[in-house]
């Protein structure tokens, strides 16, 4: 794609400024089932998104067809959209800024034969872990790489690459008529570094630990919510830190800045460049440098997340959290590499089914566990022991 040609055409069409965002995703996935390779998937997808300022309005478009003969149609469609926008919210494309890029990580593509041998070995070890495991219902090795570029007429010209290998396995165990399933995932930097026995042990303990569970009577109990389950809950509520949601008045934290909102045992950090995370970046999808933020410190809500738009609306600076959900989604305010800071205690886990208000739950913390684990996630929590949670059982 000739970006300069697009920029010139946009200027000619009357755009004040114009931006081209591209994401090239490549992937190889091997799936193993019952002793043989089940599926192999390979992909190469280049997505392109445009943003432009036209008559003071920000307009968006995205396409997988960037041939030059599409240019006039795309620009005309974007101009039509500008006329439709009636919101008074200020928006702008960003100027070029000094950005400390992350050090280049060399990404190694593993040999397909080695990957198949790993999957075969993993399946055998899972079956060998305990005779109650009767099925390995999910076993994949995925290698994915991504290259992101942002260029605009204000001088931004950025590029960043990332890649990750992941081993994922799921198993089912049976005792009597009871069937339980478990699941485990591991980021693999080098095949030789992978502790497969530990991986299989974690999966085996997860699935077997659920067998013979009794149903508690309904009531209120102290409850430990295990890190995987709590991570899902926390991720579902993470938009509460969004400056956009707060500005619109639809976040539960809409008027809580500098107030105590959770237990003093809770501290929340967001750092897109966090060295422990698998998916790191030096700049957000607007080309703004990222930074480490303490969103909640000892229970007090200290800082919200911002994109350029939400920062303009609240008269502050972007925190570098203007991200797209995918290349074809508009920029929104999103946490990236966000976590509840772990404590020091090793919690003894019990599995329960709980109900309640998540914000109330985080006010009710007895102990924060020490078991934070990133894997390939971008939002994580350790396990937490809560004082009092409603349990619905018998």
């Amino acid at each position: 794609m000739n970006k300069e040609k697009w920029f010139a055409a946009a200027k000619e069409a009357g755009f004040e400024n114009f931006e081209i965002f591209q994401e090239l995703n490549e992937e190889r996935t091997f799936t193993w089932f019952e002793g043989e390779l089940d599926t192999y998937v390979t992909s190469h997808v280049l997505g392109t998104a445009f943003r432009g300022m036209y008559e003071g309005k920000m307009v968006n478009a995205s396409t997988e067809d960037t041939s030059d003969d599409q240019m006039d149609d795309v620009l005309a469609s974007m101009k039509m959209q500008a006329a439709m926008i009636t919101s008074d919210d200020a928006e702008m494309l960003r100027n070029k800024q000094e950005i400390q890029l992350l050090e280049n990580q060399t990404f190694e593509h593993f040999d397909a034969t080695d990957i198949k041998a790993l999957l075969k070995n993993t399946e055998e070890k899972i079956f060998g872990f305990d005779k109650r495991i009767f099925q390995v219902n999910h076993l994949t090795f995925q290698e994915s790489t991504s290259k992101r570029t942002i260029a605009n007429t204000l001088g931004i010209d950025l590029e960043e690459e990332s890649g990750v290998h992941v081993l994922v396995a799921g198993a089912a165990a049976k005792e009597g008529d009871e069937i339980r399933t478990g699941y485990e995932m591991e980021k693999v930097d080098q095949l030789s570094d992978l502790d497969l026995d530990d991986f299989v042990k974690r999966l085996g303990e997860d699935v077997l630990g659920q067998l013979n569970a009794s149903i508690p009577s309904s009531g209120t109990y102290p409850v430990i919510i295990e890190k995987g389950a709590l991570t899902q809950l926390f991720a579902a509520f993470s938009s509460m830190f969004s400056g956009e949601q707060i500005h619109k008045g639809i976040s539960p934290l809409r008027s809580a800045l500098n107030q105590k909102v959770f237990s003093e045992k809770i501290t929340v950090i967001d750092d897109p460049a966090c060295a422990d995370a698998a998916d790191r970046c030096a700049f957000d999808d607007e080309g703004c440098p990222v930074k480490r933020k303490t969103l909640v410190e000892n229970g007090v809500f200290k800082e919200m997340l911002h994109s350029t738009k939400s920062a303009l609306a609240m008269n502050t600076q972007s925190t570098g959290n203007g991200f797209r959900a995918s290349y074809d989604s508009p920029i929104g305010v999103r946490p990236k590499n966000c976590w509840i800071v772990p404590g020091e205690k090793d919690l003894d886990l019990t599995l329960m089914t709980a109900a309640g208000n998540f914000l109330d739950l985080l006010c009710n913390v007895r102990e924060v566990g020490s078991d934070l684990k990133w894997g390939i996630r971008t939002i994580v929590t350790p396990s937490i022991l809560f004082d009092s949670v409603s349990i619905s059982g018998k």
Binding site: F33, E36, L37, D38, T39, Y40, V41, T42, S43, H44, V45, L46, G47, V59, N60, A61, S62, T63, E64, D65, Q70, S77, M78, M80, Q81, A83, M84, I85, T86, S87, D88, D89, A112, Q135, N137, A172, I179, R180, T181, S218, G219, T220, K248, G249, I250, P252, D328, S329, P330, T353, A354, A355, G356, N357, S390, I391, S392, G393, K394
Partner: protein, 462 residues
């Protein structure tokens, strides 16, 4: 889209391998999203998706590759990569394609790009007005108009070449009610496999009003008590419970690998006799309908359960091989970026004989789930959980106090047996279903049903 001659060349190249079947799925999709906060349009996003996915089978093994670079060199490289993965050969069959023509069962009268942007924006303003006029406690209204036109062309080594155009539209409304510092939201989001003529069949103000009504009910709702109790689930989106708790476990994706509670149960009683259910991808212009599935087979109506007896699974081509059964035209995918697998279309419990009032008779204490929220299921164990978006207590056979924070927890096999009454007020609602082959539009539905006992998760332990 690629022309017939080019497709024949590519498929012939695919078959110069140990593959016994090859397929090319092409997609060209335009989608448009217009979002508003209150009566102001905030964002417009138009997306063009264009690419191809190629699949080769060798027995039960499959290799799949996809790319949005469909020039000859890229396609040839992709095919060679797949041939090498499955076992390349010098010889193979020559594929000759015959185009299959058919009558479109889902005609569209008004394409979304023939309607002015102002008229589309006006729809969202009307949704906002409907919500705001419902009550002064409605402080914010978010709305989204979604329009999609997806052209697909599917060709395979059996010589089939077939195309389809799927047009869909939907408005989603979220209304936020606030009182004394407390805020609650309500959602309503109807859609159809139609063009903009859909908005002649629904009133935009009513969409906003319905979202506002749910938010207002929850504003003054008490905490829901937990424990086992009888539950009446209303029609429409109440059918999400059947979709999640039973539908996913009837998909060949899990059945073929014996990873479903309903595997090997064809012809056996899996539900109470009052329960019959279908998955019908042929309903004209329904949200989950298509002329053909994403493997190029004509959509069907599948009778899943008849009078409590399991009569059919939902089967795609590859899982059909594993099960030694024919495809039921259930192969679906979000886009060319996904390999298809067995998925639902418009799935619902069919009408029963009970009246709405009869569902409540004799219930001393229970829950009336008027509107369900989202949920999830583990198909292997059949265990599910769902949130209740709008709920009320049932006390001595009557609907009484509104309650919030309720969840329904149980297992699909158990719940099907515990459906003891089915009403005659069938309706369907629209949703997006996520699974291995991505996020696809599906209708859920049911008449109101009564479940004799289910675990209700709640925050009040009265």
């Amino acid at each position: 889209m690629l022309d017939k001659k080019m497709l024949e060349c590519y498929l012939t190249l695919c078959m110069k391998s140990e593959a016994d079947f090859a397929e090319i799925f092409e997609e060209d999709r335009i989608s448009e999203e217009i979002s508003a906060l209150n009566d102001r349009v905030e964002k417009v996003n138009r997306t063009i998706t264009k690419g191809a996915g190629i699949r080769l089978y060798k027995g039960l093994q499959s290799v799949y590759g996809y790319s949005n670079e469909t020039d000859e060199e890229s396609m040839t490289n992709l095919i060679n990569d797949l041939r090498n993965a499955i076992g390349a050969k010098e010889e193979g069959i020559n594929v000759s394609l015959t185009r299959v023509n058919y009558e479109n069962r889902h005609p569209v009268r008004i394409q979304f790009d023939s309607v002015s942007q102002d008229d589309k924006a006006q729809l969202l303003v009307r949704v906002c007005n409907g919500a705001k006029n419902a009550d002064e406690k409605i402080v914010k209204v978010q709305s989204l108009l979604l329009n999609v036109r997806q052209n697909v062309q599917i060709s395979n080594s059996e010589g089939r070449l077939i195309s389809d155009t799927r047009v869909r539209t939907r408005i989603r409304a979220n209304a936020y009610a606030e009182e004394n510092g407390k805020m609650q939201s309500g959602f309503y989001g109807p859609g159809a496999g139609m063009g903009m003529e859909f908005y002649e069949t629904v009133i935009p103000e009513d969409i906003g009003k319905e979202a506002a009504r749910v938010a207002l009910v929850n504003l003054n709702a008490a905490d829901c008590p937990g424990g086992k109790m009888p539950v009446v689930i209303d029609n429409g989106f109440g059918g999400v419970i059947f979709h999640e708790a039973c539908g996913h476990s009837l998909e060949a994706t899990s059945v073929a690998r014996n990873a479903s509670v309903f595997a090997n149960k064809l012809g056996t009683k899996i539900a109470n006799e009052c329960v019959s259910a279908v998955d019908d991808g042929t309903i004209p212009n329904a949200w989950g309908s298509q002329n053909i599935d994403d493997e190029g087979n004509f959509q069907q109506k599948r009778q899943l359960i008849k009078d409590g007896v399991l009569t059919s699974y939902m089967i795609d081509r590859l899982n059909g091989r594993r099960m030694h059964m024919d495809s039921t035209s259930s192969g679906r995918r979000e886009s060319y970026q996904y390999e298809p697998t067995s998925r639902m279309s418009n799935t619902f419990i069919t009408e029963g004989n009970a009246t709405f009032e009869e569902l409540f008779e004799g219930i001393e204490k229970g829950l009336y789930a008027k509107r369900m929220g989202g949920g999830s299921v583990n198909p292997q164990t059949g265990e599910f959980n769902f949130s209740v978006q709008e709920g009320y207590l049932i006390e001595n056979g009557k609907i009484t106090t509104p309650v919030k924070g309720a969840a329904l927890i149980g297992s699909g096999a158990e719940i099907l047996m515990n459906i003891e009454k089915v009403c005659s007020n069938l309706s369907r609602s629209q949703g997006m279903c996520g699974s291995r082959s991505g996020s696809i539009p599906t209708d859920v539905g049911q008449p109101a049903i009564r479940i004799s006992s289910i675990t209700v998760g709640g925050t009040s332990n009265e």
